[in-house]
């Protein structure tokens, strides 16, 4: 009989944050979405780290994207101190750059997670990544819109085997519903995990509800072994 070890699944979590110029736009004197997210994402990580069971089962990385992709936080165990840098200001929204960058990170990150479990009495199995993609605009770089056939191949490599990442696409005011739906994944035969702000939902409140839903989603998804996400307050699910 072959020896069999118990398995512990570890979930790589990626938060992808749009830092294009429109994210710094502040309607009617309220705080801009980017400022709110910059403040709330470290709080989110701290809150996740406070959960002892989750901290043993999840690692996190934060990536900003505008004119290019920027690693704000490399893949880090939630049991370790997590440092998140402030992003550089971006101008445009380069989907090709960020999806290519993410695809390039997933393999090395998985190997780092696996290596961390060496020598334990169990096998560390890296689960499919959970990706939260926050944006407020359409794919736009080098002063032109990026066609789906430019960025979709990278998205498809990320969600296809063997990576099989699950993506939730969260669109703030100004995002394009069709693009969000194309980026997101969902249950087979079910609805996509794509959400867009309803009219009038802006600022701190919307950012807060997005962060709250992401935190809850991470906790539920790690337990369920599948992305589970509810509709944030001030948003609706994008159909089709």
């Amino acid at each position: 009989m072959t020896t069999m070890l118990s398995e512990r699944k570890t979930y790589p979590i990626y938060i992808l944050l749009d830092v294009s110029a429109s994210m710094r736009h502040s309607p009617s004197g309220r705080r801009a979405p980017l400022a709110a997210f910059n403040e709330m994402i470290p709080d989110l990580v701290m809150s996740l780290s406070d959960s002892r069971s989750l901290a043993k089962a999840a690692w996190i990385s934060v990536i900003a994207f505008g004119d290019e992709a920027e690693l704000l936080c490399p893949m880090t165990a939630l049991t370790d101190p997590v440092h998140i840098r402030s992003p550089r200001d971006g101008r445009q929204t380069d989907y090709v750059a960020v999806l290519r960058f993410l695809h390039g990170r997933i393999g090395p990150d998985a190997r780092a997670i696996e290596a961390s479990g060496t020598g334990q009495s169990y096998r560390t199995k890296v689960a499919p990544p959970l990706v939260f993609f926050i944006t407020d605009g359409a794919p736009y770089a080098r002063d032109r819109y990026q066609r789906p056939d430019e960025w979709m191949p990278y998205r498809d490599r990320i969600v296809g085997a063997p990576v099989s990442a699950r993506i939730a696409a969260i669109g703030l005011t100004g995002a394009h519903p069709g693009t969000l739906s194309a980026i997101a994944t969902g249950r087979p035969g079910g609805r996509q995990n794509a959400f867009i702000a309803t009219s009038g939902a802006t600022g701190d409140g919307l950012a807060g509800s997005v962060i709250s839903v992401i935190e809850r989603s991470i906790k539920l998804s790690v337990q369920a072994g599948e992305m589970v996400i509810e509709v944030p307050d001030g948003m609706r699910r994008v159909d089709g």
């Binding site: 009989m1 072959t2 020896t3 069999m4 070890l5 118990s6 398995e7 512990r8 699944k9 959960s51 002892r52 069971s53 989750l54 901290a55 043993k56 089962a57 020598g119 334990q120 009495s121 169990y122 689960a127 499919p128 085997a161 063997p162 099989s164 249950r187 809850r216 906790k219 539920l220 998804s221 790690v222 337990q223 369920a224 072994g225 599948e226 992305m227 589970v228």
Partner: protein, 384 residues
Amino acid sequence: MGEQLLMLGVIVVALTVAGVTVLAMRGRTITMPRGVLGRPLQAMHGWRERHPDRRPPGPSRPEQEGPAPRRPGRGARAERGRPAPPRPAPSPPVEEAAVRRFVIEAPRGGQEQEPRLPAKVVAGSGWHGSFFHGWCGAAGGARPNSHLVVRAAALRGATHASMGTEGQDAIGAAWDEARSALYLAVADGLGSLPRSGRVAIEAITAALHLCVSRPDGIAFAQSGDRLFEAIAAGMLRSLGDRADQLDGACTLVVAEVVPRFDGAQVTVHGVGDSEAWALYDGQWTPIHHERGGADNATRDMPTHARPYTRIFDLSPGSVLLLGSDGFAGALDTSASPLARGLASLWRRRPGWLDFVNHVGFVDDYWADDRSAVAVWIGEGASDG
């Protein structure tokens, strides 16, 4: 008969009715001794497969262990090209600490009497931990058969508790007097769907009903497909919407245990990552086991209503365990502290409160619901 117990802030209320107890617990503060030393691994003389397993073809076919276990004892070497399994860390001596009971008046003979298992019992982990226990077995006959002693617990997971969501495991057992057979079932609702807890309860209820009410001419071992298809159809009929869509799903493992004078014959049908294991002479052997898929997807009911089936004979002194992945996922055949700990603690059947303690072992990683239904195969008719 009901009685209320107050146990130092651990147990709030225990309601006991004919051997079925539902226990409301405030946190899981009962602890298991850590680092329990396992006995050296030995071949399982008392465990033998009667028939090869029957598996339907499919992409998610699991890797299962063969019926003839190799002796992996202390001097076992890694196969060429494969890394050796991690060596278990040195452990402190076994401390067989039992949960200390709060005794008002000592029972006659100094020992609590094991109640008879109810004819049928179903329990879930929705908003509290649940457990039941009891013995069963044929009363008479020229060659009295082994008695079976059942311990079962379904504990709401720490994650559900912290998030205020409903636990989704369910367990059950039924003793069929006419067939002199015990039926056991464990279901684990898929956390990604909201009504999975209800679906798991429905699956257990239907499984036990169908097992004990099936026509005489249909053997359990040959009726796996029919049984699971009927359970799946029942789920859709009673819980599905108009389009027969169901926003819930579960894994399911169902076992038949037929006690004999020399142990028991066990048949297990299973779909998904709830598991069945046998423990004999300190060694764990997987019976139903669907780990190791490429991603996290597990087969589920009602989507995959074709179970894998295995039939085994278990010797007296063996333990059959069915468990959800929140509990059985921590078992393995060599290095798991839980496997080694339970192999030691379950050499003799534990008290019912100790069993709950064991299922609620302390390890932050295992934060999902935990369910376990275990049967100790008696040494004889008197071992009730």
